[in-house]
């Protein structure tokens, strides 16, 4: 399959995503934020980084890039879209996903590996046994997910909560296991249909065995399998 990886001014993980896709045997190409043609791509990735310097709010300016109108249409067609880290922030600003991402509770940038639990969800990007654990790196300053109680209840009911931060043994600490203060330990969510996925951890960083383990591969593999199935 072929991934389209969007470059906004200030994106900085686009190469990493392309590399991850290649390692897993997929095709991937860059899409410039000013472009409006997504023809030929099976899935769109909004990569991590600091689009527009994260100024005003993370993702606030990028969501108005010309390409985003196309991404919205692409998603509305039911085609798969994923936002990783800054990409998640952009999807939230663009209202493709509910809620918002605030400054980390500890007010510090956090780069480290954490553990998440896979929840039972409708997410097309996460074809893994609910309850299984993944070790994934996080790397952000604004990953403190928040939404109102109604939205949270609705997401729960619809199976939109995809990943939750947890302790290394899978348990969830009493005061929360999110390193950033995220509501209900939420690390990743999807839309109702399950084709749009946003997550703070960076699966593309743990795909290449040459630099570590490969827990992130499941994200790319899931969507590839799904697309192969639906044709």
């Amino acid at each position: 399959m072929r991934f389209g990886v969007v470059i906004f001014p200030g994106s900085n993980c686009e190469q990493d995503v392309v590399h991850a896709a290649h390692v897993l045997g997929h095709e991937a190409d860059y899409v410039w934020h000013g472009d409006t043609d997504l023809a030929g791509f099976d899935a769109i990735v909004l990569p991590g980084g600091f689009s527009y310097g994260d100024y005003i709010r993370c993702g606030a300016v990028a969501r108005f890039s010309p390409v985003m109108a196309e991404v919205v249409r692409f998603a509305e067609r039911g085609a798969p879209v994923i936002g990783i880290c800054n990409g998640f922030q952009i999807l939230a600003e663009a209202h493709l996903l509910p809620g918002a991402l605030l400054r980390n509770q500890g007010l510090k940038f956090i780069c480290k590996e954490i553990t998440v639990t896979v929840e039972k969800s409708a997410c097309q990007w996460m074809d893994a046994t609910p309850g299984s654990l993944l070790r994934l790196p996080i790397n952000h300053n604004e990953g403190n997910y928040i939404c109102d109680p109604e939205t949270l209840a609705r997401m729960e009911a619809n199976g939109q909560i995809v990943l939750r931060y947890c302790e290394s043994d899978g348990s969830r600490a009493e005061g929360g296991s999110a390193p950033n203060g995220a509501l209900d330990d939420i690390a990743g969510i999807c839309n109702e249909r399950g084709n749009v996925f946003g997550l703070m951890p960076h699966p593309e960083r743990v795909v290449d065995p040459a630099t570590g383990h490969t827990d992130g591969a499941v994200v790319f593999a899931s969507i590839a399998r799904r697309l192969a199935e639906v044709g």
Binding site: Q15, G49, F50, T211
Partner: protein, 749 residues
């Protein structure tokens, strides 16, 4: 020519700008007349210590700068070495001490911005950064503020750029209380044929200013700050602090690399200290040409800026390009694509003169090369400091009461692990993106960082790698600058070797006090001599570096701190080695041999409050042989872990190997030394290596072949770190001491 200074006023302004009377006279001699305001500003900045190296230039000639790997030695914005298969690595280290002491976040951030511009100016894509930090002790709130701010600033800037910060070092000592050190190192990768020079050439070519607008921020910032001692007046210099814009810099990286890739430029230079004056005059003098610049063309951030303000502003995130007129349209299109301003502000001329005009009126007109090259060069006086006799006469073995009993030793081991100079640096590097670009093979937390070489985005991986480390123990340099500087080199090389890298070249950042004081200059000279001798012994050249003088507060200099940034090359990056113990039952070797050397040690400071004695001795030939042994073991695939001994001695090294591998160790030391010395001596040229039992014999053969002393000191296993009946602590205890210590110190605990 606008004559806006009277012959009476000019010398007074010159003094205020930091020019010495004789230097002013030289300016008048060069020009044959009284300088204009703009000219005086330009000369005073270019002839400041920071830009001209007038006190250090001669001493720096001691450094060996050539070697088989070297593609570009000192003289350009960064040095460049070949790392094989047609790939070249540009790297350099630079200080941003003085701005950071005023505003740590922005000072450190713009320091990172500056060194990264030096790297992509060479045509290389920045691929990694390191930082070397020194502060006073963390029991002082101001020091905590500086440290937290500097770390946040380094992260804030580097993270946004998407350049991983993969390593560094930090020490806390009273000597740095009034003058913190923020040294930033950056490395960039390119194909060898893309090597670019910051040279202007070709009369008729255009001078293009790319990037941010120019304001009054940082007028005389880095260059004047870095050329003066700190005193009460520092507070008045506040407005010269600059705010970094990493987003603009990220766009500059992409645009400049694209401009070079498309071969649209003749030369490219960055605007750092002394702004446009420095970058333009250096580019002109390298090309042997003149320049004609019109300040009214420069996009201004503020109103009513004077010509001299445009010429010396240190507004960040700006680059200067020279190109043929036919390429202008294409070049500006690239800049516009990245959302960057680009403006033609002048032309290259064949007159050799640097002409600055404000519209039609000429405000400065001088021989371009004189700015960059005619600064006076001094031969500063040198005197061996009197304090050295006193500290070196102190015998740390008899001078204090050493502990003997085992319980006390446990406590000292744990206290050393919790010392801010030894404890886990996780609190720091967790605030840095150390993984982006997916080349970091060995993450921070061990000896050297290991990066693989290639271009992941294009799928061009080589299998090669580099190992990088920055090191300097200022206490050793204070006690003996010659030996201390050599140890800085040896330790950096040892860290690189323990990771599997063959030391190839270094950069350095020489942080010292006021060079006009003979005692300070002596320490500077000795450090360079030491570093040069070490480089020669290893056949490792210096390819770039930076000098930071006037690091004093209220009259007393910091410890001499010649930081070394070492790069080692690996042919097969998959063969890298880490500090972590790997398997139960592995055999623990000590390569090298412990002596009773506790002068200047962390133990002596921590347990006895003393910084005195002689630093550990260094035998460069032994050091080389020990490193050759560990490298051979790693190459042969028999070294399961390797970690050098540094601050805190063998006890700390072993404890760190245990914690990293989550495995205990049972140790027996047979060195005939008192326990405190076996455990805490900081003897150089020692490395702890483990092998599988069946490989032990082969390691012995390698040690014998290299004629180095070695001993088998124990086995890996269990959940305790035990040394005979002297030390016995659990992994949990080790971790509780080591892991949260920085956070605790920052919380004021």
């Amino acid at each position: 020519m606008r004559e806006d200074l009277s012959p009476e006023l000019a010398p007074k302004l010159a003094v205020e700008l930091g020019l010495k009377p004789a230097e002013y006279d030289k300016v008048v001699e060069i020009l044959g007349r009284t300088p204009s305001i703009t000219e005086l500003y330009m000369y005073s900045l270019m002839w400041s210590e920071h830009c001209s190296y007038k006190h250090s230039r001669k001493a720096l000639r001691m450094f060996p700068t050539e070697g088989e790997h070297v593609l570009q030695g000192p003289g350009e914005n960064a040095g460049v070495i070949s790392v094989g298969d047609g790939w070249a690595l540009a790297f350099k280290m630079e200080s941003h001490n003085h701005p950071s002491a005023i505003e740590p976040y922005q000072g450190a951030a713009t320091g990172v911005g500056g060194i990264i511009r030096d790297i992509f100016t060479m045509g290389a894509r920045p691929i990694a950064s390191l930082n070397s930090l020194r502060f006073g002790t963390l029991d002082k709130p101001r020091q905590r503020y500086l440290f937290e701010g500097a770390v946040a600033g380094i992260g804030g800037y580097g993270n946004c750029l998407g350049v991983p910060t993969v390593g560094g070092e930090v020490y806390f000592d009273e000597a740095y209380e009034g003058n913190c050190l923020i040294n930033a190192m950056s490395l960039g990768l390119m194909r060898e044929e893309k090597l670019t020079s910051a040279t202007a050439s070709g009369p008729g070519n255009l001078v293009l200013l790319i990037g941010s607008t120019t304001g009054r921020d940082g007028i005389g910032g880095a260059s004047t700050l870095a050329s003066q001692e700190f005193d009460e007046k520092a507070e008045d210099k506040r407005p010269s602090v600059q705010v970094g814009d990493p987003f603009e810099e990220k766009l500059l990286i992409e645009a400049c690399l694209e401009l070079l890739e498309e071969e649209l430029l003749v030369g490219l230079g960055d605007l750092g200290a002394a702004g446009l004056t420095s970058s333009a005059s250096e580019m002109a003098s390298r090309g042997g040409v003149g320049l004609d610049i019109d300040v009214t063309k420069i996009p201004a951030r503020e109103e009513a800026m004077k010509p001299f303000e445009f010429m010396v502003s240190e507004s960040q995130e700006r680059m200067l390009a020279v190109l043929v007129p036919e390429n202008l349209e294409a070049a500006q299109a690239v800049c516009a694509k990245w959302g960057l301003r680009s403006t033609v502000i002048g032309t290259v001329t064949d007159t050799g003169r640097f002409v600055v005009r404000e519209g039609d009126e000429i405000v400065a007109d001088m021989p371009a090369a004189t700015l960059a090259h005619d600064a006076p060069i001094y031969d500063p006086a040198m005197v061996r400091p009197a304090y050295l006799d006193e500290v070196q006469a102190f015998d740390p073995i008899t001078g204090v009461d050493h502990p003997g009993c085992e319980y006390v030793l446990d406590d000292i081991v744990l206290a050393l692990l919790a010392s801010p100079n030894v404890c886990s640096r996780r609190w720091i590097w967790q605030q840095y993106d150390h993984q982006v670009m997916l080349n970091t093979v060995v993450l921070p937390g061990g000896d050297a960082a290991v990066l693989r070489i290639g271009d992941t985005g294009r799928g061009e991986m080589t299998g090669r790698g580099v190992a990088v480390s920055s090191d300097c123990n200022g206490r050793y340099c204070y006690l003996d600058p010659y030996v201390g500087a050599q140890i800085a080199f040896a330790e950096a090389a040892r860290n690189v070797a323990c990771s599997g890298g063959y030391p190839a070249a270094i950069t350095d950042c020489l942080n010292f006090g006021n060079p006009e004081k003979p005692e300070v200059f002596w320490t500077f000279y000795e450090a360079i001599r030491g570093l040069s001798d070490a480089c020669r012994a290893f056949g490792v050249p210096v390819i770039s570096g930076n000098v930071s003088f006037y690091n004093e507060s209220f009259g007393s200099p910091i410890y001499p701190t010649p930081t070394v940034g070492m790069v080692g090359v690996m042919e097969d990056v998959s063969k890298h080695c880490t500090v972590a113990f790997k398997n139960e039952g592995d055999v623990i070797f000590l390569l090298g041999e412990t002596e009773n050397e506790i002068g200047g040690s962390e133990y002596l400071k921590l347990a006895h409050g003393v910084v005195s004695g002689r630093p550990p001795a260094l035998d460069l030939e032994l050091e080389k042989a020990v490193q050759a042994t560990v490298l051979a073991a790693i190459d042969a695939g028999i070294a399961r872990s390797a970690h050098d001994c540094s601050e805190g001695g063998l006890a700390v090294t072993l404890a760190e190997c245990c914690m990293a591998g989550d495995l205990g160790a049972d140790i027996h030391l047979d060195d005939g030394l008192p326990a405190y010395a076996s455990l805490f001596s900081e003897t150089q040229s020692r490395i702890v290596v483990t092998t599988a039992p069946e490989d032990a014999e082969r390691l012995v053969e390698l040690a014998l072949a290299n004629a180095i002393p070695y001993s088998v000191i124990g086995t890996v296993g269990g959940d305790r770190f035990a040394v005979e009946d002297k030390v016995g602590v659990t992994l949990v205890q080790l971790r509780e001491a080591w892991e949260p210590a920085l956070e605790r110190a920052l919380a004021g605990k």
